[in-house]
Subunit: 564 residues, 2 copies
Amino acid sequence: MAKAKNILFIMFDQLRWDYLSCYGHPHLETPHIDRLAAMGVRFTRAYIQSPICGASRMSTYTGRYVHSHGASWNNIPLKVGEMTMGDHLRRAGMDCWLVGKTHMAADAEGMARLGLEPDSIIGARVAECGFDVFERDDGMLPEGPDGSYDPDGAKEYNKYLQSKGYDSDNPWHDFANSALDDDGNVLSGWFLKNSPMAANIEESDSETPYMTRRGMEFIEQAGDAPWCLHLSYIKPHWPYIVPEPYCDMYGPNQVLPPVRAQAEFDNAHPVLKAFMTTKIGESFSQQHVREAVIPAYMGLIKQCDDQMGVLFDWLEKTGRMEDTMIVLTSDHGDYLGDHWMGEKTFFHDTSTKVPLIIYDPSEQADATRGTTCDALVESIDLAPTFVELAGAKPADHILEGESLMPILHGSARATKRDYVICEYDYSGSPLSPKLNVDVRDAVMFMIATEEWKLIHCEGGYRPILFDLRNDPDELTDLGDSPDHQPIIDQMYDKLFAWARRPSQRTTRSKDQLIAMRGKSGRKGIVLGVYDEDDASPETTVKYRGRKAPHWTNRHGNPVRTSDD
Amino acid sequence: MAKAKNILFIMFDQLRWDYLSCYGHPHLETPHIDRLAAMGVRFTRAYIQSPICGASRMSTYTGRYVHSHGASWNNIPLKVGEMTMGDHLRRAGMDCWLVGKTHMAADAEGMARLGLEPDSIIGARVAECGFDVFERDDGMLPEGPDGSYDPDGAKEYNKYLQSKGYDSDNPWHDFANSALDDDGNVLSGWFLKNSPMAANIEESDSETPYMTRRGMEFIEQAGDAPWCLHLSYIKPHWPYIVPEPYCDMYGPNQVLPPVRAQAEFDNAHPVLKAFMTTKIGESFSQQHVREAVIPAYMGLIKQCDDQMGVLFDWLEKTGRMEDTMIVLTSDHGDYLGDHWMGEKTFFHDTSTKVPLIIYDPSEQADATRGTTCDALVESIDLAPTFVELAGAKPADHILEGESLMPILHGSARATKRDYVICEYDYSGSPLSPKLNVDVRDAVMFMIATEEWKLIHCEGGYRPILFDLRNDPDELTDLGDSPDHQPIIDQMYDKLFAWARRPSQRTTRSKDQLIAMRGKSGRKGIVLGVYDEDDASPETTVKYRGRKAPHWTNRHGNPVRTSDD
């Protein structure tokens, strides 16, 4: 009987929920991912906790909201002491390994304060967000006048490319993420104009196949003890450029029209407008930019899907398909010009909703194979799901999500929540001074039910409201509609209740708190008891019938004692 | 010129704000504490963050709200990673030592996870809430059928008593906190009926003088490097019993009538009613209990005041009065029958407001000597005040209070806040099942401005509201008054804003976040740039004019390179 023993936790980066054929894309066929969906459960309302890599991932890895763990933007370190998926899983007897990207920034100051050496086992795990590292590759080695955003990015991969003869100090850039013109000039994938060209690299040497092989290499050597492998791809994240044959598979004809309305732009809420009018927003609002980028983005996804085919075939061949839960998701979406925006970093579904497919080989999951689930799901649900699979009870005083196991096994149709939360912190972005919003206030919260989505921007702004039932494309902001004030109030009430949750009471479980009740009385604390005869003789027995030994008080009078 | 170099941070336990003559008590003369007030600033609206020892202290020591640090009740461990006063001060070059009580519960599980040994320097500090321990004495060694609430409580003090001939396995109980009857029986101070009797101990051997001497011993050996000493007394906390001569100083004639109203009891909000009708509430609502307890409580305070006289005289003699800031406060109050309650654990001023006096010897503080300050102050303000005194900038992304230095130095008349917050978690108390309230919901928030106090109880209850201007005794709950709905809404708005604060974004300061703005661009991240000619040549120079070396593509065609 098949039973999940391991977890293969696959994450793509910046993969929109609707750019897979199983999620309805009309031109992009992704048969291998679709096949996984046919073998498992496909979630249609899976939300991430922040529309940016670092913060979203820290929530997924800790199982906690951004407001709870505080690592609210890329490179804001996850504070030492925060528990991760790895901590919870190891406690449950399952190893937890990384191949690929986490976007983890270590809390070097906190580690130094606690004397944690980065090269110790504990220190390395703290620095790597709880994972043991088979290979870390955050997927980028950009370079600018002030150095590199991530000097160690793509380190092993670059070594691999160099060993294969890609002769450059930064083959990640010059080959994997650039094209070549007829004069031998490197055409950088950073410039969107170059996106339609082929990356100057053998397809099998490009990042996605490389990472797939690294994942298989991990699994091959993993042994019999249960493991969780986070196989975390950088793609289809920018730079938007893909090698042949994928670069030629799609063209402007397959580029869907942008989901947007002129009134949406003209009447935009000031914070939303600020995002629309960044260079990114203005660029992706132009059709020629979309037509350059989107075919490459689709090609990157097609390559990802083909690699899933390679991986799933290999898992089948090696028997791992029988004992491995496979989870496939993304850390956020990509606007691609929808709503007059590019990138992610705002709260439309195109950015905050992600594909999520879970295949559980266990017999108990047979009933749900090939089904979809429309329940409100959050990426923080994965950690408790994994802990339950590992055989332990999720620590629900720490983990803020819900295990999806009941849904996977058909014993529940929905999660217990009636809303999802997503957050974004732009205090470290130039938009904060542009809007003249203080560091304290440069944060936003999204709360969404199945029907409504409210976005609250700190700093004294009115809310943004979308009617998800009647306006699923989120084109009409009802945040200033008097008719919708009752809905706005209800949504704010929910957000308020959420904000008051005891998210930091992480050192005592529910059971431990219940066990504390009344305990101090039986350990000698006597409160409000006037006369010992009014008190339970059992609990106060230690204070009765005691005889004081001989002792002379300060007046020199002998005090009577039991010896007298 | 006198200048504060050290900090003597004196905390009493369960000392009501109004049981000192400088705060207006009509019968209890406390000339020594009054003298400190005459030399410094006396704060009239100083609130603690939780009306219970452990949670209140964890807020004072971390400088953070309970909702931020999570140690929301006695013996809920402060999670590893939380920074304390000691961490901040040592970074500023000031040692931070403990003599007395903290009520710290170490996060043993978190420490084990991070490999922190309790006997290492770092581990010991983490386990002791950031203090270096000269002597820890949580002030109690109660005993019950299930053992002791605090097996190590009063450990050194008990040894001291034994060395002085107090012959018992628990002289803390049998002598310091018990009387003796004519037949040589120990009359336990745990039973309130015994409160009027003299504790069976030489006054100079009782806890308060002992702890004063230990504080002086610390200071004597402290050397010239700047120090902060937390001299933390257990008294006037229960057991309510005091040795001669203090036990005879006050009697029923000096017991003030209880602040309460019959209607207050009859119409009480269900949660408040549950607190009133505990054994403690019922007991302290009886006049004979009050008349037994309050004179002893007053005697304990009188003894504390006399010890302050001893201490201050000694500081003067040794020159420390010239270079030591002295802070005197309490961790919460005591109902003593007011509002039909005993103990603390609710939100009337009698419990949540504390005395706070700060004496700064520096010349800059001369202008404010002997003044009072009515500003809204919280106990979390002490940590940043201390850090500023130590010469550093308080880390306001971690510390949630405000430095009081501007008030002490006369450059400000008030804090910047317009409300204070206090919280209570009763999930580990029998009241939670009594009210049939879940662990998640057994929490309450108080928010108070100068005019209003709103108490929000989770679990679907209506709020409690007091009009502090017109009803300073807080006898009339306006929480169900339709006329006050606008006030209630305003108070909830403030609480909501507070609950959304980014309290966990502790790994990056405001300055660091501001410095991050736009930085990624200069480190090679290029976003939304279509054509390299549209981009800043400076930031994208690394991606221009690169020549690819010779490499043969997968079709076997030589790729043109710069060598061609």
